[in-house]
């Protein structure tokens, strides 16, 4: 996957964390992930699709960090993952996906984002919409680690052209 399609997600995450939490998580080494087991205890996934692209983005947090996010944003202490924590993790993913959508348009990639789904539990799976393997982007904030996963399948313009011709022929 071309890095120009990954950077919009990273930029959107940086902007979201800075604006909503006033923090700047450190991005660690990007790698390829070929299994769908989440690395965190709570994940939010958003599918997206466009004329020549489909994929999904997922944010996955350890429980401790998800609780801390909530405390920093809302100002209330919660001791276990509940509906409010699920809601805020889903909303963060929604905002990151929205920011990436805007920047992807600069690469002529027009997408529509779906509504986020949130999954909770140890070793839960994240069902990406695009192809595997997908890109794993780990971040560190203080002593906490969290991840963003991006899966994206982009059809070549040649393939699109062939498909358009086939559609016209029928």
């Amino acid at each position: 996957m071309d890095v120009k399609y990954i950077n919009p997600f990273i930029n959107a995450l940086d902007h979201t964390m800075a604006t909503m939490l006033g923090v700047a998580p450190e991005r660690m080494t990007i790698s390829v992930k070929s299994h769908n087991i989440a690395l965190g205890d709570i994940s939010a996934i958003i599918g997206f699709a466009g004329e020549n692209v489909q994929g999904s983005i997922a944010l996955s947090f350890p429980e401790k960090m998800a609780l801390l996010l909530y405390r920093r944003i809302i100002g209330e202490v919660v001791t276990r993952i509940n509906k409010d924590i699920e809601d805020i993790v889903g909303e963060l993913a929604n905002i990151v996906a929205g920011g990436a959508k805007t920047e992807l348009e600069n690469s002529r990639l027009f997408i529509h984002n779906a509504i986020p789904s949130v999954i909770v539990g140890k070793n839960h799976t994240i069902a990406h919409k695009g192809t595997t393997p997908f890109v794993l982007i780990p971040f560190q904030w203080e002593t906490h680690y969290f991840t963003m996963e991006v899966s994206m399948k982009i059809e070549s313009t040649g393939l699109l052209f062939k498909r358009a011709l086939a559609a016209r022929a029928t």
């Binding site: 929205g98 920011g99 348009e105």
Partner: protein, 121 residues
């Protein structure tokens, strides 16, 4: 001033309502989608709505309100993660008075609300 906050995220509604309260806008009401918002419109002087919501999205809500003589002049601010130019233009064409892209700071939210209130007063 009665302000209606429409967002499917309860957390986002709380964040917005807290910022409004801190700025002196008390008496806000909330709804989690466009359909619920329509049922809560009585006496509302300003609507702040998300775009992407289940049941009835923000754009459908804007169209409904603009077609309803009772609410066609109520100012609407869209607060959404969708910041792409095409969508912003579409929202403004449908009658949205101002547009805020998430994530936002409290000052951006309040400045835009004040601006809409001034322009539409």
């Amino acid at each position: 001033m009665k302000i209606l906050v429409v967002d499917d995220s309860a957390t986002m509604r709380r964040i917005i309502m807290k910022h409004l309260n801190d700025a002196g806008y008390t008496g806000t009401v909330e709804a989690e989608n466009g359909l619920e918002a329509i049922s809560r419109m009585e006496g509302v002087e300003l609507v702040l709505t998300d775009w992407n919501m289940p049941v009835m999205d923000g754009m459908s809500l804007v169209k409904e309100l603009r077609q309803n003589p009772a609410y066609s002049r109520v100012p609407i601010v869209m607060i959404t993660s969708i910041g792409a130019r095409k969508e912003v233009v579409e929202a403004l064409k449908q009658g949205v008075n101002n547009y805020i892209v998430k994530p936002f700071t409290p000052s951006i939210l309040i400045e835009k609300i004040k601006s809409v209130i001034e322009v539409t007063a």
